[in-house]
Subunit: 328 residues, 2 copies
Amino acid sequence: CISQDIDHILETQSALAVDLGGTNLRVAIVSMKGKILKKYTQANPKTYEERIKLILQMCNEAFNDAVRLNCRILGVGVSTGGRVNPQEGVVLHSTKLIQEWSSVDIRTPISDALHLPVWVDNDGNCAALAERKFGHGKGVENFVTVITGTGIGGGIVQHNELIHGSTFCAAELGHIMVSMDGPECMCGSRGCIEAYASGMALQREAKKLHDEDSLITEGLSVKNEEPVSAIHLINAAHLGNTKADAILRTAGTALGVGIVNILHMVNPSLVILSGVLASFYEGPVQQVINQRALTSARSIRVVSSDLEEPALLGAASMVLDYTTRRTY
Amino acid sequence: CISQDIDHILETQSALAVDLGGTNLRVAIVSMKGKILKKYTQANPKTYEERIKLILQMCNEAFNDAVRLNCRILGVGVSTGGRVNPQEGVVLHSTKLIQEWSSVDIRTPISDALHLPVWVDNDGNCAALAERKFGHGKGVENFVTVITGTGIGGGIVQHNELIHGSTFCAAELGHIMVSMDGPECMCGSRGCIEAYASGMALQREAKKLHDEDSLITEGLSVKNEEPVSAIHLINAAHLGNTKADAILRTAGTALGVGIVNILHMVNPSLVILSGVLASFYEGPVQQVINQRALTSARSIRVVSSDLEEPALLGAASMVLDYTTRRTY
Ligand SMILES: [Ca+2]
Ligand SMILES: [Ca+2]
Ligand SMILES: [Zn+2]
Ligand SMILES: [Zn+2]
């Protein structure tokens, strides 16, 4: 039966996905249907040489495993922090979250080593691609993804396609400023939503509170060696710590105001929040939209992503979409 | 000679352009080449009925004059404040700058009275269309126009076309917020660039200064009946008034930060400033971009518009472009 044959082809056609984050370097084998068949995680090395070496090593291992799993690898998709020129497969510039990662051609070494086509885009854009293919963005003409993780990133889909802009700097949503002064940001500016609402920013505030002995609240303890994190701040606020609560309110307002700015600029019909803090921010963001967006822009849906691994799935989708595209 | 015939046709093919602003209602006869052949100005009435009546009256007068000027009017283009659904020719919603101007079908009454096709879009979008056809935006794939007049408006051109968004609320650039609190805005929110940097905002600040006797500076006088305006503030600052200077610096920073937010979202290659305050803001905006934009987004050009009448020319261009378009 033909349809069974097609199913079988779709099941065996796969992509290698690479995700380069501030902390980890990950590789996965992803099937055409968006299933992650195997995943590899290592700490992201601090130098360019070690990083490239480890990428190739992990890709090779994954490729060999894929053969054993009877997966046909069609290509490699790379999701990375920083500004990316996807036409050239080059990382133009990164913040300090990933060191030695500016003006880096990632396509050539991977393509040379694996003899496969390679696609590269930034993590926020990959997350948007993942939503378009596998998530809430399926069939939605205009939507935006905002990822609140260690930093804040995002992607804008307009007329079903990513916006990259004239210098590949579109959808740098973490660096929308909601204050003319405000806290310093990794990018060198101030008042960016990343400096208010990212995991990094909340951790900075949690540490400050902890240093002045204001974090610990009845019911909350931080063990001696345990690193203080955003989660402690959220838990402290839940337990009635008013200082923690005030910090989180400011963070929610900052993110909400940043997202209203997005609505007033590109006016999508859907905002998808993803990253570890997505469900925490869903309520505050909706509230700020109700209070501060223009009437005509309020009818937007705000949802949290259902995808486990938006960056990896988006990286894979660049490969998988290419191979099934009808027009070029 | 055929080319002379074509020239003659192009010279006589014209549009009626209507511009509905917070203060004035204007109509013009505009030739295919962007020449304003005749212009009519009245105060914009405060009620819906009077406004529609006056629009029709002025359009009729202009239409009759056009016949005498040997102009063939191909249609009517309307530029208006507020959110517009250009497909339906309806003003969805306006701020208080234009009263009784929400859920208004402008197309039907004009089209019924003049028996001509009618196009409608908001003033910021029209200004962008004017730049695309007659100004700095000619041949530029991705650019943004920001108009600093009484309010602040704008238009975003991506891949040579205006972005309207899912609810016709894209490019509401005046309501980009650069502060979580900040001064109140006409839209009901706070900290919008319109509330910091528009003519209206500067007038508000100038009045405050004048009320506390801090506006008048050596060399500057305000006559008794003369309304205090942004121009007084600018002149005072030039003459060494430090309070006036501080207000204008904040305004320039606010506008600059708002424009950096635009760069980080849609990353155009060109920003065109227009409106009465354009040349005043060109320097401060460029400075904020140099200080606060991501490295990859800094290579943008910021220019002031050369067009005398962006709103009228843009309104006309909707008519003129339609009649010469090759695809529909
Ligand atoms: Ca992005
Ligand atoms: Ca607009
Ligand atoms: Zn930043
Ligand atoms: Zn506003």
